[in-house]
């Protein structure tokens, strides 16, 4: 399928190497009372050692669900993987029985969860929860595990870590809980780290420290990082390449510099234009009008069409495949080239 192969072109310098992670044509649906919600509809990407892939996209576009499917922690039922593969160093994880798969979790692929509070157990002290990782996975003694846990809390800049290791999740601020989650995710030294909004609750100075910590880990251990975030500033700072998701599909994929310089998809363009800018203070922010499609009833044609300022007749009839626009850049828009060149006017309404 051209649609999916387009998404897995390796970086030239990495060509020939087995990627760390290859997601191919991944599909996930939720069978709910209101119908079948198609949350992930053929997502493909590759991640190499030491690489940072940023995943951007509308809230509800399937970023977290994709990550959950990769991790094997999908809420099943109602969620089901209905197609595709997730290969870690060539091994298809989706083909493994549960118990074998579990061995990859935390060690090979770890995840920082978006909802820090609900991912932490409210009835155990946070230090204990981190230490538990070392006891269970590495068979450390209680004392060693506790000391490692405190070290890790210090590494993620929790003040007075030793004194506060016995505190419960609700006693920490939002940003502190987020850092506890980060500590748990990096505890076992994973090869791939999926960071789902890892710094949203952090002030920018702590955010800078955490991103630095992740960058160091990445360099030292050649870790691959999948960064799911809404923060276009952070993405500009750290990403190698970007995937932009909408309605469960990848709409655009490109190296970081290219996307910011000239987006090749109207949705990406809309996103970049929504960033608040100093010179626009006092004015209404530019926003993409309308709502994302209902996933139980995705319209024919381009998923973005009802909100797209450039939509033409063809957009209603044909769903654009993710295709290469210029070498290394992919976009799922019938007018990708025109959007890229800035050579298209909004359609008459």
């Amino acid at each position: 399928m051209a649609t999916t192969e387009a998404g897995i072109a390796p970086r030239p310098d990495q060509a020939g190497l087995t990627p760390l992670l290859e997601v191919e044509d991944l599909r996930v649906e939720f069978r709910t009372r209101d119908g079948v919600a198609k949350a992930v509809n053929g997502v493909s990407y590759t991640l190499h050692e030491g690489e940072t892939l940023a995943v951007l996209g509308e809230s509800g576009s399937g970023k977290s669900v994709t990550a959950q499917a990769i991790m094997g922690i999908l809420d099943t039922p109602p969620g089901f993987v209905t197609g595709g593969s997730v290969r870690f160093r060539g091994q298809d994880l989706l083909a493994l029985p549960d118990d074998e798969r579990r061995a990859y979790r935390g060690r090979s692929i770890a995840m920082i969860f978006q909802d820090a509070l609900s991912a932490l157990n409210p009835v155990f002290p946070v230090g204990w929860q981190i230490a538990e990782m070392y006891r269970v996975h590495e068979g450390m003694s209680k004392k060693d595990a506790k000391n490692r846990a405190i070290e890790l809390m210090e590494q993620v800049h929790i003040p007075a870590a030793r004194e506060r290791a016995g505190d419960y999740p609700h006693q920490f601020s939002g940003g502190m809980r987020q850092r506890i989650m980060i500590a748990m995710a990096i505890a076992l030294d994973p090869d791939v780290l999926i960071a789902d909004e890892p710094t949203t609750a952090l002030d920018v100075t702590v955010q800078a420290q955490i991103m630095q910590l992740l960058a160091d880990l990445q360099r030292e251990r050649n870790m691959g990082l999948i960064l799911i975030t809404h923060d276009l500033g952070v993405v500009a700072d750290v990403a190698d390449k970007i995937e932009v998701m909408y309605s469960g599909r990848i709409m655009e994929q490109a190296p970081v510099h290219d996307i910011y310089a000239s987006p090749a998809h109207p949705y990406t363009k809309g996103l970049l234009e929504s960033i608040p800018r100093v010179d626009l203070k006092g004015q209404e922010l530019s926003a993409i009008k309308g709502l994302p499609p209902n996933l139980t009833n995705i319209p024919a044609g381009c998923e973005f069409r009802p909100r797209c300022p450039y939509a033409r007749d063809i957009c209603k009839e044909q769903r654009p495949a993710l295709a290469e626009v210029v070498p290394g850049r992919f976009s799922a828009c019938h007018f990708a080239q025109e959007v890229l060149d800035g050579d298209i006017e909004p359609a008459q309404q």
């Binding site: 809230s59 003040p159 920490f172 502190m176 500009a236 510099h257």
Partner: protein
Amino acid sequence: MVTSNPPSSDVVLEVDNLVKHFPLTTGVVVKRQVGAVQAVDGVSLQLHKGETLGIVGESGSGKSTLAKLLMRLEEPSSGKTYFHGQNIYDLQGKALRELRRNIQIVFQDPYSSLNPRMTVGDIVGEPFDIHPEVVPRGQRRKQVQELLDVVGLNPEHINRYPHQFSGGQRQRIGIARGLALRPEIIICDEPVSALDVSVQAQVINLLEKLQDEFGLSYIFIAHDLSVVRHIADRVAVMYLGRIVEIGSEAQIYEKPTHPYTQALLSAVPVPDPSVRGQRQQIILSGDVPSPANPPSGCRFRTRCWKATDKCAQEDPELTVRPGSDHESACHYAAVREDVVIQH
């Protein structure tokens, strides 16, 4: 002074030296108090009608605790908050219910703040149970659907449960609920940090529109300094339980005088990969001090590049400093412009 101080009749909320200390205990079975987390330690501020006060600052500096104190979801250790001239910590019964109607909060965490066993319709409509006088029973469903529509959710999804929505969608549910009772003040605790920039723009436009329409006052807590800059009229910067600098949006963003504010502004990531690594960023060295054991004198001194002996001995007051026209709590407050965000 550049900051216009509107006549005091304009003040809807006045916070006077608010303090909240949480006891710190050890021992699993027998708890023993070994100290206190000084989450909020002497905060004073005013909120005017129709204005947006942005609050930014260190994670763990007490912003959410302050928000909860203002809502009276927490009781202060000391200090007062006046709402239309009445100290809210004295209110009881009907007067307290009235207060809770007039001050609403939209929470930071769109996951844990919504009851997973209630439908969206029940969540958004719940305030009407407590305040049945606002909307007649027969009108409720329609009103809830209107609210969902206002915040950009599909009104047909009224019977769904929170887990069926994405993080950003859940945040809009919280905003719809906050709006239900048409309050005077809405405290937004990171209302848009879970949203993508385009939805974020919608929500901010929405908040601004509602403000114009109903004369709402907002306290807007956020980590995204560009967003705060866009929406706020005035900005307070918090560090370790205290306000270290406060002024108009232009004063804080263009003429910051406190070293912490300057460090904060310098760390804002720029949405432009071509300037990666080129910005001069002030790196704060030193550990983040524990709020249970804050440094003597200036609380920022352990991480401040300007600190002297004086800073360890004398607690700098939040006051207008020479060479600038807004309040700053630094002995050596001085305008610094090279950290200003250019984009």
